[in-house]
Amino acid sequence: MKGEPKELKLIVNGKPYELKVKSKALLSDVLRKDLKLTGTKRGCLESTCGVCTVILDGKAVRSCSILALQANGHEVTTIEGLAKGGKLHPVQEAFVNHGAIECGFCIPGRVMVAKALLDENPNPTREEVRLAMQGVLCADVGYVKQIEAVEIAAEKMRGGE
């Protein structure tokens, strides 16, 4: 029946969920409203700003541009899933320590893009970092410190200091 909620199985930040959602529910809506994971932001709703970015099966995607049901059976990582045992992920740590955060609204999306990039490519060139980070728009802090923060995190994740 139209409009009737459908079953959705998701693994979010390693935890399995079984939910009932409306067909038209966006992945970002389900994360924020049903699972109360509000770290993922809701921005333009038209695939432009990137603040809703999460990692789906290892790849950065825009959760406002995907129906929740399209993620059925898949694995999602949100910003809440990065810190382990009270310790920030190296990308988060680098953003904080390097002063790459101002208002913070775009930061969850930005950190997710950076994490997906570094998981796939542990030693990216500046150009590669710049291109990946273009997928999230920032209105205030500017981009240079964020790009540098990703490079600092990359070095740390590779085991260097």
């Binding site: 067909s23 038209k24 038209e46 990137g50 825009r62 995907i66 049901l69 291109l131």
Partner: protein, 290 residues
């Protein structure tokens, strides 16, 4: 957004039987990123959404010298960009995909979704047109092949019957001494192109004369525009910058671009000249190297 009934078939047959059951009331969703924007705006309001993204048999890239390149309709932009076979034999496709959109959009979006969306700024269409690509469409118990060049009918309109879906993109191996290139005018890398051009040039190995050329433009009309008059100016000639400039002029005269927030029609016409020349030069250099 209006409520709809959602289906996630796992096979092509299942998807086709849903389509033949619901026809005009149904819409196929691949990645869905462009479609959801239209649905939110109320421009598309299907009763039934058939999400085919989970049909994994349509996610493939195959290459053979004889048969050329075959891309399953549900292959993501990012997989096309990163494919070694494509980087080696169809570099222009990989380059086009890299500039198509941001990385998140490329990770989720599919080549088939992009083509069936039928937007005149879509980058794959002009590149596939100059590569002489064909599309395999399927309905229940039937298949047909259409040329990419004839597939887009108008803004957001393509040659798909209500009970058909796109299955595969077929690209022949280009003739020897062929060079192909694509570029577009964008504010930031990964933005939608304001105008774009794809050019394929085949030169004679002996004297360097242009034997064949195909030019296709985006942002130049309501559909990806093949610039046939401009091509005629180049065939049988030794191509140089002056000739490419003339071809750009002819292509620009034949274009009927829109005026919108991204650029006026006059500006687009100017930029078509620039991009036909720029991309033509790249294609020519590549043709000479092969």
């Amino acid at each position: 957004m209006k409520e709809f009934e959602y289906f996630a078939p796992r096979t092509v047959e299942e998807a086709l039987s849903l389509l033949s059951q619901y026809k005009e009331e149904a819409k196929i969703m691949a990645g869905g990123q462009s479609m959801l924007v239209l649905m939110r705006q109320g421009l598309v309001a299907p009763e039934y959404v058939i999400d085919i993204k989970g049909i994994s048999v349509l996610d493939y890239i195959e290459y053979g010298e004889e048969k050329g390149l075959r891309i399953g309709a549900l292959t993501t932009h990012r997989d096309i960009e990163k494919s070694h076979a494509i980087q080696k034999h169809f570099k222009v496709l990989s380059e086009m995909e890299r500039n198509l959109a941001t990385i998140q959009t490329r990770n989720w979006g599919t080549i088939g979704g992009n083509l069936c969306y039928g937007h005149p700024t879509g980058d794959p269409a002009p590149v596939l047109i100059v590569l002489n690509a064909k599309l395999k469409l399927a309905g229940l118990g039937q298949e047909r092949i259409v040329e990419m060049e004839k597939f887009t009918k108008d803004i957001l309109e393509v040659d798909l019957r209500p009970d058909e879906m796109l299955i595969e993109i077929q690209i022949p191996t280009p003739k020897p001494h062929t060079g192909t290139a694509h570029d577009k005018l964008m504010i930031m890398q990964g933005d939608t192109g304001i105008v774009g051009a794809a050019v394929s040039i085949t030169v004679s190995p002996g004297n360097g004369v242009c034997e064949d050329v195909r030019i296709a433009l985006t942002g130049a009309a309501s559909v990806p525009l093949r610039a046939k008059e401009a091509e005629k100016r180049l065939i049988g000639k030794m191509i140089n910058d002056a000739l490419l400039e003339e071809a750009g002029q002819i292509a620009s005269e034949g274009a009927d671009p829109p005026s919108d927030v991204h650029g006026s029609a006059e500006y687009r016409k100017e930029m078509i000249k620039v991009f036909v020349k720029r991309v033509g030069r790249m294609a020519l250099e590549r043709a000479k190297q092969r």
